[in-house]
């Protein structure tokens, strides 16, 4: 039994013992669960039944026993509640002594055992978020109530039960909130947004359920924001199967995701979107691509996610698609303690073999046990030539680096026991969370509130993605023989992920001041193991040496730590409102003992094929097909923001004048250690890869096997960027229905590459980066106009300019093979992108939690950066590189609806709990591409561009996407069905259709059923995601689908559109085509399916218990 098993066992036993012991020892009548079936019978019968169920003995006189008609209400579940009911209704009293209970007549007026009250608290605000002091909160069932305080907050003490609250305020629409559950000793949070009554003094009531009120609050915020935004609340997130934010984002209008990790807003790819956590930017989690992987944030820590799509000058960070603002739970309005346990199974994972390299003892806990430590300090490069390094063909005397030195370095690096794929049994995913919230009021007369929220979570997931087809990058594009069904490139990607999360947020607020602290720590061990079996483009299948497919393995165990600490303040100083925050965000990722390995299949008598790991060749200068690597990335972001807003009135108009500034310092370093294993005989016969380390003593000159790092494989990058901004803006509310927010922002940006070196290949090591950013300060104007011709209806117009700055690593020469792309990913130097954004939106909020909206947007990108496939040497082997195009234009429409079905027929209460929701995004884009050329004049290189005449779609663009949802939110039962559809997407672009890769449309159907038990204390959820097992499918318009235009024959230097045209029946969309003949051989005439991945169906079950 492993140490992990022992630890888990110890933990579980301890937890079980504690939990069980609390029930056995206490004799607490509140803990004794009983169910009375003899209600209405004489008391003796009822007590006999209680005796049997509880183990307690009852003592009473015959007279008492004969008391007839003892009725027990159905909501009495504990012995305490039953006895309390009997005592009250029959004027009796009882006394407990150990396991004995004596029932006697009450001598005096019986004292009812007081039920411990629950509380309900929250804040009453108007539509603009301003507090409404003195609002009346009335409890319909009791007739009692209270009034809100100066800051709009209120607290009501109530006995446990289900209530309806009515909130009223002069000249506001009175609201009724039904199904508000009050639990004994607990506080139920409920903040309400009130709407101005446009019908004068005539009273209008709007009734909504508790859940709906929380969603309505989000919509109210959306309605009152100066900018265009869409969002999703904790309540809505809770009604989906989503475990992390990456899964949730695609539910928001105009937002889609790549691999459930990277966010695309309005079809604009991840590098044009900015993510903030509690208002502070998040670093890029991918070293080579500018994006944040949202799977790092569990949904259970999230309060809401709002995606802003237009810009105001006080927004410190430029974006083009959207600003994804994630807010974690902060100061609670009530105390809570909840425990959640969950498990899930995936149809393509559980019960199947699960491959990976040797695991560490603590992988399930998310930490390395030291088994991956093979990267000591002080390693020296071993160039393959004798005059600067070590040539195995030469004598020791001629080699600069001696055999003994190489052997000593091999010994320091260590053995190869961990290497080589193993098969494990895939386990169901498991997750646990403990969350606590406490709220304290430090004064009875003044507002002095203090509170904190803490959360600890653990999750382990194992996913086996089946790659049904891999024909990307260096892999063979087509089968060599169309009839050969075995000529397939397939594989799996195994993901083993352990996530530990901790959150501690707190705050203190008075009437005029508020200070909050946010602390988030996430530790992830993410081990992605990719194993692809197939034939390469260079060596297609044949009957000779390429009879059997080769195998490529990439094992990438990555340990990431994300720590964000932030303190923010808000102070009201007369008419001036001051806001400030200081934050530090640190990301550390260590990819430890990442291994790239190649296996060749040879045929011997009794093995066809016999697969063996191949070392690289000691005589070839490149890194080769077998290396073990370590990549350490550290990024620290320090930011500060300060703003002051002055409110004033001019006649009947109110205005806010705001000035402020921000500072963001990003510093990143990236160190890589790539240790190729090379040999003089690449195939080691019967020697297993685990034994290689035992044969690295360099004592057999005919068969050397050694680690051969090269200069560029022991290298680093370091960069720093400074972003400073200052703004001035005015927010004017004119004529009660017109709001104009506008201003200008000055932004200074400077990035310095402190150290940059290439990797992987001597070819790339010799490449130069071309950096063209020279303008450091930009002036960025913006204006947002909101016009409300009638209440609940907004017409919005917005214009803004923004800058997208290159990520720190985007100007690095670092090059690395990506198993996903099937080729290397590199940069050719990226400059800043300036974007002009135009937006128009019509939004209508017909009722609580209801929304109808339509948006038109247009964007102009100056020098957009895109991912290109680029065939530099025209060999058919292409790289993926990031570089700038000349310009791009993107325009489109967004529509959203969320509507209660109660209006269909009022006689069916069921319909009042049902909502339909949907959103649709339609857009188009065009890009002017350019080819970069270098000319040398008088020995000096200079860059010039040639521009392509024909336009194409922007990288990452999705022309059509929509979400549909049907939700039933009952008192106990909840059902939610959601369908997400994404149309064609430009995955990788290129100057030639034969290089542009698209993702085919995909729809995903998810469902959830939830049920509340034990008076709402426990909630059970069953989620099913990807019900139809929809695959991710990619394709390229193959050359067989188009032909040369006859009139272009003989004309040089033509663009694709001048040279070619699609054949009849083919277009840019996916057409599978038919089997035809080309060059005398059968061949598919149709689009080439480059990559197909199945992720399976996931069934998850969770239980949450609120103490």
């Amino acid at each position: 039994m492993s140490r992990l098993t022992c630890l888990s066992l110890l933990f579980i036993m301890t937890a079980s013992a504690v939990l069980m012991a609390s029930g056995v020892k206490s004799q607490d009548l509140r803990d004794v669960r009983v169910k009375v079936t003899s209600s209405g019978a004489p008391l003796k019968t009822v007590l006999d039944e209680l005796e049997k169920q509880s183990g307690f003995s009852f003592y009473f006189t015959e007279e008492i026993g004969n008391i007839p008609g003892v009725t027990i209400p159905k909501n009495a579940h504990s012995l305490y509640e039953v006895l309390r009911e009997i005592s009250n209704s029959k004027k009796l009293s009882y006394k407990q002594s150990g396991w004995m209970i004596a029932i006697t007549k009450a001598d005096v007026q019986p004292k009812a055992i007081p039920a411990k009250p629950g509380r309900i608290s929250g804040r009453i605000t108007d539509e603009k978020g301003d507090p409404l002091p003195g609002a009346t909160i009335r409890v319909i069932e009791t007739g009692g109530g209270t009034q809100s305080a100066v800051d709009g907050s209120y607290v009501l003490n109530l006995p446990p039960g289900v209530y309806t609250l009515e909130i009223s305020y002069v000249s506001f629409v009175t609201r009724q909130i039904t199904e508000v559950v009050i639990t004994e000793g607990k506080t139920t949070p409920l903040s309400i947004t009130m709407k101005v009554n446009t019908k004068g003094l005539k009273e209008v009531k709007v009734t909504s359920g508790y859940k709906k009120a929380s969603i309505a609050a989000l919509y109210a915020q959306q309605q009152n924001r100066a900018v265009l935004s869409d969002g999703i609340s904790a309540e809505q997130i809770g009604a989906t199967p989503d475990k992390h934010v990456g899964e949730t984002l695609k539910r928001i209008t105009g937002v889609s995701t790549t691999d459930n990790r990277k966010v695309v807003v309005r079809g604009i790819a991840e590098r044009y979107n900015v993510s903030t956590l509690n208002g502070s930017t998040l670093p890029s989690t991918d070293v080579q691509e500018r994006d944040f992987e949202f799977n790092m944030i569990p949904t259970n820590m999230v309060e809401d996610i709002v995606v802003a799509k237009s810009i105001t000058p006080d927004m410190p960070y430029g974006f083009a698609g959207g600003l994804v603002q994630i807010t974690t739970k902060s100061v609670p309005t009530s105390n809570f303690l909840s425990v959640t346990l969950g498990t899930s199974v995936n149809s393509r994972t559980v019960g199947k073999d699960f491959m990976g390299y040797q695991r560490g003892k603590y992988d399930y806990l998310g930490f390395d046990d030291g088994g991956r430590n093979h990267f000591p300090k002080g390693l020296f490069p071993v160039p393959y030539d004798y005059y600067s390094g070590f040539d195995p063909r030469e004598t020791d005397a001629r080699n600069k680096i001696k055999v003994a030195e190489v052997a000593e370095q091999n010994k320091r690096i260590g053995g190869t026991e961990r290497l080589g794929a193993r098969t494990y049994q895939a386990m169901p995913s498991q997750n646990y969370q403990l969350a606590i919230g406490r709220a304290y009021s430090l004064s009875k007369t003044k507002k002095r509130d203090l509170g904190f929220v803490g959360s600890l979570s653990y999750r382990n997931t194992q996913n086996n993605d089946y790659i049904a087809s891999m024909r990307r990058g260096s892999w063979a594009r087509k089968p060599a023989n169309i009839d050969d069904v075995t000529d397939q490139n397939t594989g799996n990607n195994y993901g083993f992920t352990t996530t530990l999360g901790a959150l501690l947020n707190g705050g203190f607020k008075t009437e005029k001041h508020q200070v909050n602290v946010y602390n988030l720590y996430t530790h992830i061990f993410d081990n992605q193991f990719s194993r692809i079996t197939g034939w390469s483009h260079e060596n297609p299948k044949d009957d000779g040496l390429s009879k059997f497919p080769s195998i490529r393995e990439d094992d990438r165990p990555k340990f990431s730590d994300l720590l964000q600490n932030k303190i923010s303040g808000q102070h009201r100083l007369g008419k001036i409102n001051v806001e400030w925050n200081v934050a530090r965000t640190q990301l550390n990722t260590v990819e430890k003992d990442a291994v790239t390995a190649s296996l060749g299949g040879i045929e011997i008598l009794n093995k066809a094929p016999l697969y063996q790991y191949y070392s690289g060749s000691a005589y070839a200068p490149e890194i080769g097909g077998f290396h073990r690597d370590q990549y350490v990335y550290d990024e620290t972001n320090r930011s500060a923001e300060l703003s002051a807003a002055y409110e004033f009135r001019l006649g009947k108009t109110s205005h806010t004048f705001k000035v402020g500034g921000n500072y963001l310092d990003k510093h990143a370093s990236f160190d890589w250690t790539i240790l190729p294993i090379v040999g003089t005989t690449p195939f080691k016969d019967a020697l297993s890869v685990q034994e290689w380390g035992n044969h690295m003593k360099m004592d057999d000159k005919t068969n050397y096997l050694y680690y051969r790092p090269i200069g560029y494989s022991l290298n680093r990058f370091e960069g720093r960027s400074i972003n400073k901004g200052a703004f001035v803006m005015i927010d004017s509310k004119l004529f009660d229905n017109l709001r104009i927010v506008g201003g200008i922002r000055a932004e200074y940006f400077r990035t310095d590459t402190l150290d940059s070196n290439a990797s992987e290949s001597v070819v790339y090591a010799n490449m130069k980066m071309m950096l063209l950013d020279s303008v450091r300060t930009r002036w960025l104007p913006s204006v947002n106009i909101t016009y409300s011709p009638v209440k609940n209806l907004n017409l919005r117009l917005a214009y803004s300019e923004s800058m997208i700055r290159p990520g720190l690593m985007e100007n690095s020469q670092f090059v690395r093979f990506s198993p996903n792309y099937g080729t290397v990913l590199r940069s050719r130097g990226v400059e800043s992108t300036r974007i002009q954004n135009y937006d128009a939106k019509l939004e209508w909020f017909p009722g609580a939690g209801e929304l109808l909206s339509a948006t038109y947007f247009y964007k102009y990108f100056d020098k957009p950066a895109e991912y290109y496939s680029y065939d530099q040497s025209n060999t058919g082997n292409y790289d993926i590189l990031i570089t700038n195009s000349d310009w791009a234009k993107v325009s489109g429409w967004e529509f959203e609806i969320r509507k209660n079905l109660g209006f269909l027929y009022e006689g069916v209460p069921f319909l009042k709990n049902m909502f339909v929701s949907g959103n649709l995004t339609i857009q188009r884009s065009e890009v002017r591409s350019r080819d970069r050329n270098v000319k040398t004049v008088d020995g000096v290189d200079s860059v010039y561009y040639t521009y392509l005449k024909y336009r194409r779609a922007l990288y990452g663009q999705i022309p059509r996407q929509y979400n549909l949802g049907l939700q039933y939110a009952g008192k106990k039962l909840g059902i939610n069905v959601v369908y997400n559809y994404m149309g064609y997407k430009t995955f990788i672009t290129g100057s030639d259709p034969n290089m542009i890769e698209y993702e085919r449309p995909r729809g995903q159907l998810d469902a959830q059923i939830s049920y509340r038990l034990l008076n709402g204390k426990m909630e059970a959820k069953l989620n099913i995601s990807n019900l139809t097992d929809a695959p991710f499918r990619f394709f390229i318009n193959d050359h067989s689908t188009y032909r040369i235009k006859p009139e272009s024959e003989g004309l040089p230097d033509l663009e694709w559109n001048d040279r070619y045209e699609y054949q009849y029946g083919f277009s840019e969309k996916f057409e599978k085509g038919y089997i035809g003949t080309a060059n005398g051989l059968k061949e598919r005439i149709g689009d080439r399916e480059t990559f197909t991945r199945y992720i399976g169906r996931t069934f998850s079950f969770s239980l949450s218990y609120n103490f």
Partner: protein
């Protein structure tokens, strides 16, 4: 509630207990890779499937070459057991066990005649200067009987394109039944024919045709006539005026399709099993 918590704890316990650090190696470690001598052989009339330790390795039909891949044997355990089974019946027609300790692992030459394993293919000794040949037509049932004839094709070149001027056919064997060896037939001399055009030449082909018809045995769609002839021809040697020594040839004829193109494949078993 207590019961629920206990069940959940039990589930977690089971999950934790199932965690394994070591998995099973995907590429199994080998004890040794040893040389082996496999003399090759020939299979006709059925396909033989080679199994090692119950695992299917490859199919044999036609020539079994003593190729590089058959010169080594891997030992995961101390012993490796080989079996050759008929594809049609599953019957084991040959078996052998190899031991890691054996200094010399060898498989003799094998000949499967369609019914059982023989030590070698046997044929008569050539007589005088006579050329004789027999044939084994090994096509799927329903493919029909075949004739073999010498086709003397007279052609001239029109630019780079050959133009056929005429075909003279000399029968060699007729009505060959599939699934059995024919009797030996005496092969005719290569004829000398007069040219009908000053720039013409002759191309001789020994072709397989459908019995009693002027149709090639295997025809692919939209194919040049010369390509069709080549796909239906065999390298049968005919005597000529300079021939002094006799020759025996035994041709196994079967079909093969690759990338949608079919052709007749022919192998002379006399060369596979020289005396």
């Amino acid at each position: 509630m207590k019961k629920t918590i206990n069940i959940v704890c039990l589930l977690i316990l089971l999950l934790a207990a199932a965690c394994k650090k070591e998995g099973d190696f995907v590429v199994k470690p080998l004890k040794a890779i040893e040389p082996v001598t496999f003399a090759g052989g020939y299979v006709l009339g059925d396909t033989l499937t080679l199994y090692f330790d119950g695992v299917k390795m490859r199919d044999y039909f036609g020539p079994i070459g003593s190729d590089w891949e058959t010169t080594r044997i891997a030992f995961e355990e101390d012993r490796a057991s080989m079996e050759l089974k008929r594809k049609k019946t599953g019957e084991t027609v040959y078996q052998k066990t190899f031991d890691i300790k054996d200094a010399d692992n060898a498989i003799p030459k094998l000949y499967f005649d369609g019914a059982k394993m023989q030590p070698a293919y046997t044929y008569p000794t050539p007589q005088g200067a006579e050329y004789t040949a027999n044939f084994y037509l090994d096509f799927p049932a329903g493919s029909g009987t075949a004739d073999i004839s010498l086709e003397m094709i007279e052609y001239r070149m029109d630019g780079n394109t050959p133009v056929i001027l005429g075909v003279t056919s000399v029968p060699i064997a007729s009505n060959i039944q599939p699934g059995k060896w024919t009797e030996y037939v005496t092969l005719p001399m290569m004829p000398t024919l007069p040219n009908t055009h000053p720039e013409s030449g002759f191309a001789p082909y020994i072709c397989v045709k459908k019995a009693g018809k002027n149709e090639y045995y295997v025809v692919n769609k939209d194919e040049e006539i010369f390509t069709t002839i080549e796909r239906n021809s065999l390298q049968l040697q005919l005597p000529d005026e300079y021939t002094t020594n006799g020759l025996v040839q035994s041709y196994h004829l079967y079909g093969k399709t690759y990338s949608g193109i079919s052709a007749v494949i022919s192998n002379d078993l006399v060369r596979v099993f020289p005396k």
